[in-house]
């Protein structure tokens, strides 16, 4: 089963491309957000409180370039394909997608008219998983902030 997700906004171009190129022996389930395009051959729903169970059930995931879905896909250890949503404000997804694909963390595909080729290539892609082992300092930062003097003390020194 292939699971496609577009996040909280809409991404009609991706859903349309998947709907038109679906193969006979294939099941595609899509989360379409606020999209206006109604797919005919693929199963879809709009929103879900948590997509974790869908990621678990899927063999392959297609995701938009939103940071939330990208990192959930990275954690799910499933093969996945990332497609940039060009209609979001300021095209801010490009920055993260370029960085992640340059370092081999994800496989990105731009050509929506030829998306089957992207899916074939993404299935053979072996990702670099180093990114999930990075250190986090937020708890320390928070404690430091609460301990520093109240008002007027320049914590940046």
């Amino acid at each position: 089963m292939i699971f496609a997700t577009v996040g909280t906004t809409s991404f009609d171009e991706l859903i349309e491309a998947l709907d038109k190129t679906i193969q006979e022996d294939e099941v595609i389930i899509a989360q379409i957000g606020n999209g206006l395009y109604m797919p005919t051959d693929i199963l879809f729903f709009r929103f879900s409180q948590s997509l974790a169970k869908w990621y678990e059930a899927a063999d392959f995931i297609i995701t938009s370039g939103g940071a939330g879905s990208l990192f959930e896909c990275l954690k799910s250890n499933k093969p996945f394909l990332a497609v940039e949503n060009k209609s979001v404000m300021g095209r801010h997804q490009r920055e993260l997608l370029d960085y992640l694909s340059k370092h081999g963390f994800i496989f990105m595909w731009d050509d929506l008219s030829n998306i089957r080729l992207g899916i074939e290539q993404a299935k053979e892609f072996f990702p670099n998983r180093k990114i999930l082992n990075m250190m986090e300092y937020y708890s320390l930062l928070f404690i430091w902030m609460m301990d520093s003097d109240f008002w007027g003390n320049d914590i940046y020194g």
Binding site: G68, H92, L96, W151
Partner: protein, 157 residues
């Protein structure tokens, strides 16, 4: 200690929830847009602070969003009086800038984390809040190298 976390929908919500989970000894209250049902469903029942999101970008008039902003500011200051938060944390989005400035005015500590989607450039709320909050954390080393007054915190998701 009681803290206030601002949820702005979509990827921002996922990042803020992950950030709050990493902080120790905190009792988080979540500020949510009263019409954002998906975000509301992700938060515990008695930990919600309802406000109105001031501006949905490019979709509504300036007069209505100005009215919403004033109402949100009044509601937020009432919440601040009622709950006496020690800190406010946020990961960007519409509500961030006005609430953070109000928190500074009320002498509450503020922690801003730049969204994980920003690798080389700052977001709009990041631009406005840079140097004006107690902790300005970024999630990528590439961005931390450019900005002298930011702290590198690692990927929060």
């Amino acid at each position: 200690m009681r803290i206030c976390a601002i949820l702005n929908g979509g990827g921002h919500t996922a990042e803020t929830l992950a950030l709050v989970e990493k902080l120790h000894n905190v009792e988080p209250y979540y500020m949510v847009d009263a019409f954002d049902h998906l975000t509301i469903s992700k938060v515990k029942k008695n930990r919600k602070l309802y406000v109105l999101s001031p501006r949905k970008r490019n979709t509504d008039s300036k007069i209505i969003s100005g009215f919403r902003l004033v109402l949100t500011m009044i509601l937020t200051s009432l919440y601040f009086m009622r709950y006496r938060f020690r800190a406010v944390v946020a990961v960007g989005g519409t509500l961030t800038v006005p609430v953070m400035f109000l928190a500074r005015f009320c002498r509450i500590k503020t922690m801003f984390v730049e969204s994980v989607a920003r690798v080389y450039t700052l977001s709009m709320s990041g631009h406005i809040l840079y140097g004006k909050v107690d902790v300005f954390a970024v999630q990528w080393v590439t961005l931390a190298k450019q900005l002298k007054r930011s702290v590198y915190g690692g990927i929060v998701l």
